[in-house]
Amino acid sequence: MNEEVLPQRTTVLFTHAVAQFIADEVGADVLHIKGPAVESNALALGALPTDPVRTSVDADVLVRPAHISLMLQGLTRHGWTLLYDFSGGSPFRHAATLGREGLANVDVHRYFPGIELEPEAAFSRLWEDRRSLTIAAQRIHVPSLLAQRLILILHAARSPAFDLTKEARAPWVSADPETRGDLARLAADLNADVAFRAATGGLDLVRNEPSHDLWAALSTGEASQVRLWRARVRAARGWRESVRTGVSLLAPNTGRMASRIGRPLNGGELLRAYVEQARRGVRALLRETHHADAPPGDRK
């Protein structure tokens, strides 16, 4: 028997199994999403070149928000290191990433982008219809087949350069009319209409929703950071969150920078990072203003 580098797919499977083990140990409710936790065959997605099982590089788990601390403590107690906290990951601040030797990273989600229902209520809605799936000979909890399909659709809606012809839409394209109706109802239950429509069409019907601009920008591969910033601030709930979102999006991602250089940033590096990010923000705003002032024919 030899220790060796495992196939990436196997490390992801084992991470799912270990995450479930630790969740059971600490009493945290978790649902495994995306990657090998998607029942591709049941959803008739198995034959795609972009099969999520084959392209996944980490394990994603959605944790009941009230159990997030329990889960993070359980993982760190078992040797997992926090690589990115919630504010250092994606601009949605929805997931923290942890890693350990020999396994794939785990992304611990406290909510899923696109689902705008209050996170605890949204989790409970998904939890009540959960299923069991065996991965690496271990039983894990996954959302219902319908919810698995919806989560893939919502995820596709924020993929960069989302293209209506791409296979990212397979979870929608392969759904029969009855399933499409069920998907729309589940999206409504979860207050996920905007992201759902961004992926499946009809986004104009929800143009008055605060998150409309954000999902319109994400689903069309918006390149302007300023427009994305404005859309995210508009999508934030309440003025406090708007201010917090606006400020946090202007701050440099020090977690990622520290991860890149392999150590925490020192005081001078932190200061330079903030100054550089502020410069970038100002340059982008100036470009945007210039762009907006130019006649439409001159815009590039």
């Binding site: 220790e3 270990v18 396994l103 690496a136 039983r139």
Partner: protein
Amino acid sequence: MRTYRVASDVAYEQVMGNSQAPGVVYAMVMPDGMPRALRGSAAMLWSLVAEEVADPVGEAARLTGVDRCVIEGEVAEFMESLVREGLLEPCSSLRSPAPGVRPPT
């Protein structure tokens, strides 16, 4: 010879082989163990245990075409080494319930 089963806290995956690459079994004791690889006859024996074949030694002898008496000692030694690593457990040992699983009331 004792009989064995995969320990309940072991995650494993069997990767089927082909003419170029033989099958491999990857296994780890959760939650803190390091994943290990079992190849060749080790992978075959693991598969027989995991599939709860009644007489894995006899089946291994049949599959490899080697006399049972020749392999029995080595197989027993190998199985015991996996028990020491926590990957297998003797069937006589009581299986502890998985965390969070309550007995039926």
